[in-house]
């Protein structure tokens, strides 16, 4: 990696100040994407701002929502009894990210801010209709993701926590890239009294997206048969050496049905 300055502020305000004042400063959350990128010299930050002393980790349940601190690690989400009980799809999802080492360093806030088009968490946030809390505002999930590696976050804006409404049912199903183990197609389905939301990661050229046709069918009838005939167009899907857009389009149907079976 290139040389850079390193800061570990102990207040959110200080962190925001450093990141806001320097467009080349970068935040370090869990580092499980960022550190490999640095090691490959694909990024040359002036300053790396370590967010681990900001007290941003922890999981709380109140009423109809779960609040997860941005610096909460995947392994803690996967093992958390409240999340397992309230949003089992999320606990399962967290258990499928990376490997043990990654899950003990990587954080939910870091992953969401990065918005890798093949990352798992964006599908949970979007399907659950959660809210991103930052140092300055709240951003609804539907407004947060703005294309691959792009979010609504402003320069220097730091995610502090993620609020997730508790659904009646939830599940995540992941079809992995055989090499990287990222999602080729990952489907998070959440059933609320108000209806069903279903989000797909790994497949779309623009990153995570909701499958409204499936949502509509599942809202009427929450069973895998309800989405049997629904065909997804390959037009806006990714294609690479592991999976063509057509294969991904097909897998969206298969994986979605499996997610519904798991949730039901």
């Amino acid at each position: 990696m290139y040389d850079f300055a390193y800061q570990k502020p102990s207040s959110l305000a200080d962190a925001v100040k450093v990141l806001s004042g320097d467009p080349d400063a970068k935040a370090l959350a869990g580092g499980q994407t960022f550190i490999p990128v640095l090691k490959q010299r694909l990024n040359k930050p002036s300053t790396v701002v370590d967010l681990s002393k900001l007290g941003l980790s922890g999981i709380t349940v109140s009423g109809d929502k779960v609040t997860i601190g941005a610096m909460t690690r995947h392994a803690d989400i996967a093992a958390n009894a409240d999340i397992k009980a309230k949003i089992p799809g999320l606990a399962h999802q967290a258990s499928l990210i990376g490997d043990e080492a990654v899950r003990h360093r990587g954080t939910m806030g870091g992953s969401l801010a990065n918005n890798d088009p093949a990352a798992c968490y964006p599908s949970a946030l979007l399907a659950l209709g959660g809210t991103i809390k930052t140092d300055r505002r709240s951003i609804a999930a539907d407004d947060f993701f703005q294309g691959m590696f792009t979010t609504a976050l402003e320069q220097g804006e730091i995610i502090t926590s993620i609020e997730l409404p508790i659904p009646e049912k939830s599940a995540y199903e992941k079809f992995r890239n055989p090499a990287s183990r990222y999602a080729i197609v990952g489907v998070f389905v959440a059933k609320f009294a108000s209806g069903v939301r279903l989000a797909i990661t790994g497949a779309g050229q623009g990153g995570v997206f909701r499958h409204t046709e499936m949502e509509k069918a599942l809202s009427a009838n929450f069973s895998p048969d309800a989405i049997n005939g629904i065909v997804t167009s390959p037009d806006d899907l990714n294609s690479d050496i592991h999976a063509s857009a057509e294969y991904r389009a097909h897998l969206i149907g298969v994986v979605s049905k499996r997610a519904v079976v798991k949730a039901a």
Partner: protein, 793 residues
């Protein structure tokens, strides 16, 4: 302690240090005053180098020197030599274009080294390497075999017409064509053997050291054969005589062939150490290894078998294109010829065989031997072809194999493609494998899987391979530029403990245990009083290293010979001490006895007398008990056996799950059954990797798309099923141990078994053949394409 000789599953003594972090790998070695080398590599598949501007890099902080190809050329540093010369069918020698240590004039593949920065730290060297300004003019590239042999293709090397390295044949085409003309069936199969990237756990590392007082060079390197590196680099590249060059290959974390070869970086650090008069270390990064370690396989073939009405094989006709990459790696030309085409009889009596191999240059990383080296390619071709013959003729695939097997009473068996097999029993390995795999119960398992919505298939492969390469005179006549004997020194110390110096090299195989077991059995020395030393040209008299599953069959045989000498000398000493005739002395269980008496001396008594020769036949016998032997094998060894794979396909996704794997191998005498089982398991894991997961993919422009673990699918533990591994051994008849070798059988026998199982699972979809790897995406496409037709039927 219990029995620790030949046949005992002694725990691997080296694992104590490997598993406790105490291994001494090359990167663990640091020399005083050490500098760091970083290599600037080509990011172009094919380009002319108009100029390399090193001014900014040379002036960068911490930089000691920057070298480019012209610096080496100015000192007449040689190119990397090729160790095997093949002649084309017209008698002309193969095209052998220069392989400069640092590129001169052109770069020919992504990863081709152009310049090296020597700096005080790795970070400084990396920073400076980015400042090197290379002025390229891009050239069109040929990234695969098909495009390289196409009419009008760009030449990778000027003057190498058609990118053809050689055009080689074995067998009589007219005779084989004649057999085909009269055959009841001719079954034809086009197939590809996919290109692989070895990915040993430990990346390559090289440290050059120069002693300014003596002028001696030392190279520490991740090598499977340090003496070979000393010979090649000293004699052909750097012109350093053996007495001034020491090569050390300490603990090495996996090789699989990729650490046989003499690589540019070894020459760079050694030469640069002499220039800057300080040690120079280079450590390969993983991404760098993808584009600089020799790749494996990469054949495109057409195979045809002439078969008579009852299924008897009458003749085999094959054409193969073999990818050499951009330059000839050390043993590359031998792989698709003498390690491939000579295996094409397989386990069958096929009376006539013709094979034409065209070796082709492309703008890709050089290709060389990778675990199995030619025999996996031959076995995949044959065992797929046999299943396709069964498919096309309707003859049962087991019946077809049994009918054509070389029978157990036919050994020694001369094949029509040069090799003479010494022993084997293919019916037995097949029978035991069928039993162990529960072959007869398969249809019930297939039906149960179908009820679960899965497509289940079973596949078989019956194979033979050739190890322990081979009589030096024979390989010399075939173009090898080295001998292929092995050397061992047995040093019995004064108190009877033993140090073994072996010219083989252990990089995961467990030689420190296995070779010690030979001493336990032959000399009766306790296991814990035996040390095995390897991997240092200053300690070992000589050696050819470890590859081709040769260590036990060839290296172990050299040990037996050296121990015979120890015993012979010990008998003379014992005869003197016990006042008996030498011919009356017997040696057994560590003890010399006068036959028919109770007079005896232990080996320790004898060794003590040899080193403290007070009462000793000093007029006739030198003191000491230290014997060296060289063993030149009389033939290859021929391990073989039967592998059976059972798989399930999820038709919704195409994904294959390995359900069962059964291996029954004939590896000759087994010294350590636990180590043999581990070697077979590891080889099978690599074979499953090739069959289902791994593939080196270049785009048409010559960029490596599968250039990291993000895109190159290495098998993981959960891709590998529990497996049943057994041996049914016949002894090698021409070496003193009877051992054949076990290091590669897993990677050779398994890929066709897996693909045959996949094809079997898809039999209702009209699948006759598919190429590796059988990925989910590929199988889904096949299922999709076939489904409308099935629905219509």
């Amino acid at each position: 302690m219990g029995f620790e000789g030949i046949g005992a599953s002694v725990r691997r003594k080296e694992d104590v240090r490997f598993l406790s972090g105490k291994g001494n790998y090359t990167d663990d070695i640091n020399r005083p005053g050490q500098l760091y080398a970083v290599i600037r590599r080509s990011d172009r598949p094919h380009a002319t180098i108009n100029g390399v501007d090193i001014a900014a890099a040379s002036a960068a902080p911490g930089v000691v020197r920057v070298f480019v190809g012209a610096d080496l050329a100015a000192e007449a540093i040689g190119g990397l030599p090729c160790g095997w010369q093949i002649h084309s069918k017209d008698g002309s020698p193969m095209a052998e274009p220069p392989h400069p240590v640092l590129a001169v004039g052109k770069v020919r593949h992504v990863g081709d080294p152009v310049a090296v920065v020597i700096a005080e730290s790795k970070q400084a060297a990396k920073n400076a390497a980015e400042l090197i300004d290379i002025d390229y003019t891009d050239l069109p590239a040929v990234a695969n075999l098909t495009s390289a042999v196409a009419a009008g293709a760009v030449e990778v090397h000027d003057g190498v017409a058609g990118n053809l390295c050689y055009d080689w044949v074995i067998g009589d085409k007219a005779v084989v064509d004649g057999v085909f003309a009269g055959a009841a069936h001719v079954v034809k199969l086009d197939l590809v053997n996919n290109r692989l990237i070895p990915n040993a756990m430990e990346p390559r590392v090289a440290i050059g050291d120069f002693d300014t007082s003596s002028g001696d060079f030392t190279l520490y390197t991740t090598s499977q054969n340090p003496h070979v590196i000393r010979l090649l680099m000293g004699a052909f590249v750097l012109h350093i005589p053996e007495n001034k060059l020491r090569v050390v290959a300490p603990d090495v974390g996996g090789g699989f062939g990729s650490k046989i070869y003499h690589y540019a970086e070894e020459a760079i650090v050694t030469w640069a150490a002499g220039k800057v008069r300080r040690p120079v270390k280079w450590t390969c990064e993983r991404g760098e290894s993808f584009m600089s370690d020799a790749h494996g396989r990469d054949h495109v073939s057409t195979a045809e078998m002439a078969v008579d009405a009852d299924g008897t094989f009458l003749g085999l006709r094959i054409t193969t294109l073999a990818n050499m990459g951009a330059y000839l790696s050390t043993f590359a030309p031998a792989v698709p010829t003498y390690l491939y085409a000579t295996l094409l009889a397989g386990v069958y009596k096929t009376p006539v065989i013709y094979c034409n191999v065209k070796a082709v240059f492309t703008n890709t990383v050089p290709v060389d031997a990778y675990r199995g080296a030619g025999r996996p390619e031959a076995t995949f071709l044959l065992e797929r072809l046999v299943d396709v013959i069964a498919h096309d003729t309707g003859i049962d695939k087991l019946e077809l194999r049994r009918k054509n097997f070389i029978p157990a009473d036919a050994f020694p068996y001369q094949t029509p493609v040069a090799l003479q097999y010494d022993s084997g029993d293919y019916q037995t390995t097949l029978n035991v494998a069928l039993t162990n795999a529960g072959w007869d119960g398969f249809e019930a398992r297939r039906a149960a899987a179908k009820a679960r919505g899965k497509l289940r298939g079973i596949g078989i492969s019956t194979y033979v391979e050739a190890c322990g390469i081979a009589p030096s005179a024979v390989v010399g006549s075939l173009g090898a530029r080295a001998g292929l004997y092995e050397c061992a020194e047995i040093r019995v110390h004064p108190t009877g403990s033993v140090t073994v110096f072996t010219g083989t090299h252990s990089h995961g195989q467990g030689h420190e245990t296995t070779l010690a077991q030979l001493v336990v059995s032959q000399l009766g020395v306790p296991f814990d009083q035996i040390e095995v030393v390897h991997g240092d040209t200053s300690k070992i008299p000589f050696g050819m290293g470890t590859y081709g599953s040769r260590s036990l069959a060839v290296g172990g045989s050299a040990m037996v010979k050296a121990m015979d000498k120890v015993i012979a000398k010990g008998k003379k000493i014992a005869a003197h001490l016990m006042e008996a005739a030498v011919e009356d002395i017997e040696f057994k269980d560590n003890t010399f006895t006068v036959a028919g008496t109770d007079k005896s001396k232990t080996l320790t008594d004898i060794s003590l007398a040899a080193y403290v020769p007070h009462n000793y036949p000093i007029e006739e016998l030198e003191p000491g008990l230290d014997e060296t032997a060289f063993y030149d094998p009389k033939n290859f060894t021929f391990p073989g056996g039967c592998h059976i794979a059972e798989i399930e396909i999820d038709p919704d996704t195409g994904v294959v799950e390995m359900v069962n794997f059964t291996a029954v191998d004939d590896v000759g005498r087994v010294v350590n059954p636990m180590i043999v089982e581990g070697q077979v398991q590891g080889g099978v894991a690599q074979g499953i990797g090739q069959a289902l997961l791994e593939s080196a993919i270049y785009d048409p422009s010559g960029q490596l798309l599968s250039g990291s673990f993000m895109d190159y699918t290495m098998p993981r533990a959960n891709d590998i099923p529990s497996m049943s591994v057994a041996t049914e051994n016949t002894m090698c008849t021409h070496n003193p141990l009877g051992s054949k070798g076990c290091g590669e059988v897993g990677a050779i026998g398994s890929p066709p078994a897996v693909i045959n199982a996949v094809v079997d699972a898809l039999k209702d979809y009209g699948v006759r053949h598919l190429d590796m790897p059988a990925t989910g995406a590929k199988l889904w496409s096949i299922i999709q394409a076939a489904t409308p037709r099935m629905a219509a039927e």
